[in-house]
């Protein structure tokens, strides 16, 4: 993927910042049987990594004695933390998040393979999968180092997915897991029985990001929208010609990543499995995300599903739900969690986490990770505003769809609120009939509090909505109760930082303006929400958000 590989030098020594460790040492076996002289590349828990004239050697610290100026005064005792997760997720996210975590403590981090050779950018899992077909056996180390390049902490990141992922947490093989699926009731129970505590509790469940996917076509293909079912029909080979969508009479050229890749598994889980379909047999298989987007950029009849951040110049196709609501494939829709093809990226940990693991999790809980998440190509939870264009398009369709039960004054209030404010991407969601915030929502409160402190908007409207189940009047009450619940949490979060000039108001709009279809549980869950609308008094105010 990187064409500038000549800059990705494999060896880190020689540079000033890291030259410290690359020094000659002599390692002598404690039983006197042999000794090795070479440059000490690094020290990892339990092993010295030495580059000698016979190559890079990894020698057990228990069996060898180190002599030479570069020998450390004390050895790192053990791996401090083990993190497990799938390819394209844990392997991409962890090095970046750890860099941020280290930087906060004025430390540095770098990635090494298990033999201690610096990996540069070559640490992605699954690079050998297409050759060997094996998933789930790769691992690398992240060392957190001080200015002198002496290791302070060591984090082992290893590949695991599906049921293996939660098993590795439950069996305590790993301390943290990065999952694209919420914990299942079975795993929750098992974890509890194994003394890991409640995986659904605030302290043990941390939503870091959302990972969104989109159907893509060639930029010249003007296909208006697709439903998830239509995408699954194309991928499975049930729809094979563009004429089905009013296009030219030409075969749809489907491109996919290899079936044994983790990226394919995610697409399978989001699109094919829910409809019990399988991928077509005669698709074009490409080996990297880059090849996938290039295929679509160059093939006017091409079709592929890919991670949103990989689309480059290919065209993402808007997603249509079965009741006709259209979601644009963009960052804003993914952050609101109203777009259909996305997963939450969640970290789970046992209740007995301590030391560097606890400190890392504290960092993961803060909005300070958002910049690093964005850098990884996954959508962060940072607060962004809806575009004006999208706002008016949505308002137009909302007004057109307003049910007869909405009276004129409600409609007027809704429209006037909408016209003076801009919706923010952060959206709070609830269980059926309840006004309890989930763990993600509780942390989003802090993000909105920070937004208010930074931007100091003139007014914030907390707009509560309900699904279409139940009576109209009851839904209005319920939606207002939800908005008030968010207000309570927000006020208590903001109390500590002193008064602000922002007026915060609540509204209960009941089942008006649905963002998803009320015909299925997933759609109804999306409609049970509190949106945050911001009225910014001066056009410069958003700049201030950045300056702070």
């Amino acid at each position: 993927m990187k064409s500038w590989s000549k800059y990705a030098a494999a060896i880190a020594f020689g540079c000033i910042a890291s030259s410290g460790l690359a020094q000659e040492v002599t390692l002598t076996a404690k039983d006197g049987s042999r000794s090795v002289t070479g440059e000490l590349v690094t020290i990892q828990p339990g092993k010295f990594i030495v580059r000698s004239n016979v190559g890079v050697l990894s020698l057990n610290t228990a069996e060898f004695h180190c002599s030479g100026a570069a020998c450390p005064a004390s050895l790192p005792t053990d791996t401090d933390l083990v993190v497990a997760g799938g390819a394209g997720l844990a392997d991409i996210l962890l090095p970046l998040l750890t860099e941020g975590f280290a930087a906060e403590q004025e430390l540095f981090s770098d990635v090494f393979d298990l033999q201690g050779v610096p990996l540069g950018e070559q640490h992605a899992f699954g690079q050998d999968d297409t050759v060997s077909g094996a998933i789930g056996s790769e691992a690398f180390d992240i060392l957190i180092m001080d200015e002198e390049a002496s290791p302070v902490h060591s984090i082992l990141v290893k590949e695991a997915s599906g049921q293996n992922l939660f098993e590795s947490l439950i069996t305590r093989e790993s301390d943290l897991i990065v999952s694209e699926e919420p914990v299942s009731p079975q795993n929750y129970t098992q974890a509890r029985k194994s003394g890991l505590g409640e995986l659904t509790s605030f302290q043990q469940e941390h939503v870091l990001a959302v990972d969104g996917y989109t159907a893509t076509v060639n930029p010249e293909n003007d296909l208006l929208s697709l439903t998830i079912e239509q995408i699954s029909q194309i991928l499975s080979g049930e729809i094979v010609n563009w004429t089905q969508f009013g296009g030219p009479d030409h075969k749809i050229n489907v491109y996919t990543l290899p079936q044994n890749s983790e990226a394919f598994h995610r697409v399978d889980g989001l699109i094919l499995s829910p409809f019990e379909r399988d991928i077509l047999a005669d698709g074009n298989i490409v080996n990297s995300n880059r090849e996938l987007s290039r295929a679509i950029e160059t093939d006017p009849y091409g079709f592929a599903v890919m991670r949103f951040s990989n689309i480059r110049d290919s065209r993402p196709v808007p997603l249509r739900s079965e009741c006709g609501i259209i979601h644009q494939p963009n960052q804003f829709s993914m952050k609101t969690e109203e777009y259909g093809l996305q997963n939450r990226v969640t970290v789970y940990n046992g209740s007995d986490l301590s030391g560097v693991g606890a400190a890392l999790v504290e960092f993961l809980d803060s909005p300070r990770i958002d910049g690093f998440v964005s850098k990884s190509g996954i959508t962060s939870l940072s607060v962004i505003a809806q575009s004006e264009h999208e706002k008016f398009a949505r308002l137009k369709s909302d007004v057109a769809e307003m049910t007869v039960s909405a009276n004129a004054s409600e409609l007027r209030s809704y429209v006037s609120d909408k016209l003076t404010t801009t919706r923010l991407s952060t959206t709070f969601r609830f269980s059926p009939g309840s006004s309890f915030l989930d763990n993600k929502a509780k942390r989003d409160i802090e993000r909105i509090a920070e937004y208010i402190r930074d931007v100091e908007p003139h007014k914030i409207v907390l707009a509560g909505f309900a699904d279409a189940g139940g009576s109209y009047g009851k839904n209005r009450q319920l939606s207002l109760a939800r908005a008030k619940q968010v207000l309570r949490e927000l006020s208590s979060s903001m109390e500590a930082s002193g008064p602000v000039n922002t007026v915060i108001e609540v509204r209960g709009y009941g089942e008006m303006a649905p963002v998803a279809c009320n015909t299925n549980p997933v759609g109804r869950a999306k409609n049970r929400r509190v949106e945050v609308w911001s009225e910014v008094s001066s056009p410069d105010a958003e700049l201030r958000a950045w300056g702070g």
């Binding site: 800059y7 990705a8 000033i16 030479g68 570069a70 970046l96 941020g100 930087a103 390049a149």
Partner: protein, 538 residues
Amino acid sequence: MLNSPFTRLCVAASIISGAVTTASFAQEVRLIGKDSNIDVIGNLLSSKDGKYLVETDIGEFVINQDLVTCEGEACPTEQTYVYDLEISAPDEIAEVLVPIIAEGYAAAALEAEAQLYDENGEPVDTETVDVGDHKYGEEHDFALQLTDLEGDDVATFGIHTANGARLFERLAKKDASIIFTETAARKADRSIVSESSGGNLRDFDQERVIAVDGFAMIVNPLNQIPDLSVKQARDIMSGDIVNWSEVGGSDAPIHVYSFDPDTEAYHHIEKLLFKKSDKTLTNESSIVHDRTELTTAIMEDVAGFGIVNYAAKRDARAVPLRTTCGIVQDPSLFNLKTEEYYLQERVVAYNRSDIDGYARELVDFLDDGSLDGLVAKAGYIDLSITSDSQERAAERLVAELEEGENEYEAELVEDLLKNMNTHARLSTTFRFAPGSKRFDNKAERDLMRMVNYLAETKPSEVVIVGFTDNKGPFDSNLLISQERAQAALDHLVEVATGGELEGITLKAAGYGELEPVACNDSPRGRAINRRVEVWIAG
């Protein structure tokens, strides 16, 4: 020179050092540790440079004065002379940069002249002083006497030399209200200052980067060796490489010229080259005593090699530096100002938050437009803005384009190249913490400089161009670089409230991890690559 301020300074200096009154006859004193269980009784032989030398039954000891309290008649009396302002800095800065800045301040604010005196009361000529011989770690006192045009006393500033963490200790103990350092405050340094109610050294008003100081690997102009890596320079200095043919030159022995390993001048080179290494300076080297002697020796010796401050290289040839990933950095003024050259340090001024009077005024003067001229006069590289045609960088990109196999990048590179050919780059470069788009104190001040520069030069177009390191996918880096550039542009517009940018077309662009200026294989290299550049046209 036997006028009254001089005599008084002489007395003051002798009290500070305590040497004159006590060194002539030894007397019994008791030294008791402040935070430790030191308890020594013996004859005080001398008391200078912040250390006591005592003779006891079991031998002679040297004890740091800060660590103990001295009891007995022979103990030096407390310093009685109170300076109007106390400054601490490493020797080179204390004897050259600080007096020149203070002189500029005195002339501008007080219409006064300044003269530096050493601890023996001898005047020091700050413009010719060459500190190659000064020992690292020793602490000395200087006094800077400010007199008005009639020759009357205005004020006296004390300048105490110290190094590394000692500087921050002095700031914390209120022994100094302003310090100058080439090592940025670390966590521990900041915490001792804040514990002493000295404020937060990260505050905009307490931290000022006033200059950069670079080091050049110099050879005789007849020696046309293309470049050297940091590792090769180290191996030459340590004697592991002894012949020019080993580094791509002709077959001739390398003659190393160096400062004495005990000197402050050598300490810089040690810090940059030998950090945490068991290597030391080769025994074969010829020791020189000041920078002039070093450059003169190199000019006279075709096989000579030395490392010297960039501003002091004179006619010697500065060899380009080759990084671990093959990027070659010319030791040019422009590259030093962009902070992309590897062998360089920042000169930072820190002050306590509770300053007033002269300290307050001097600190404010550090933000004055006339500072850059004084910094340059002192032989440091100032932060004034210069521009560069980008020819070298464009050449490098063309080479990459020819090797490129990837269309998407190739298109971007072509676009980048087109802009490089039509735009000059300014030396001001904004850098960011990983994952952040926040401006640090230096960046905020650079932004103000840039607003003034643009108001004066009025280019027709300014493009703010973002770049990232290579961690993470290409596309997200592209996006981040564009966002950073846009954020920097917005901030520029926000700061320029006086119509300075009128008539200038402003644009933002981002090229992700393309065109690295340092190697992405180390945290420091990545930090150099996370940047926003400023390009101008017309």
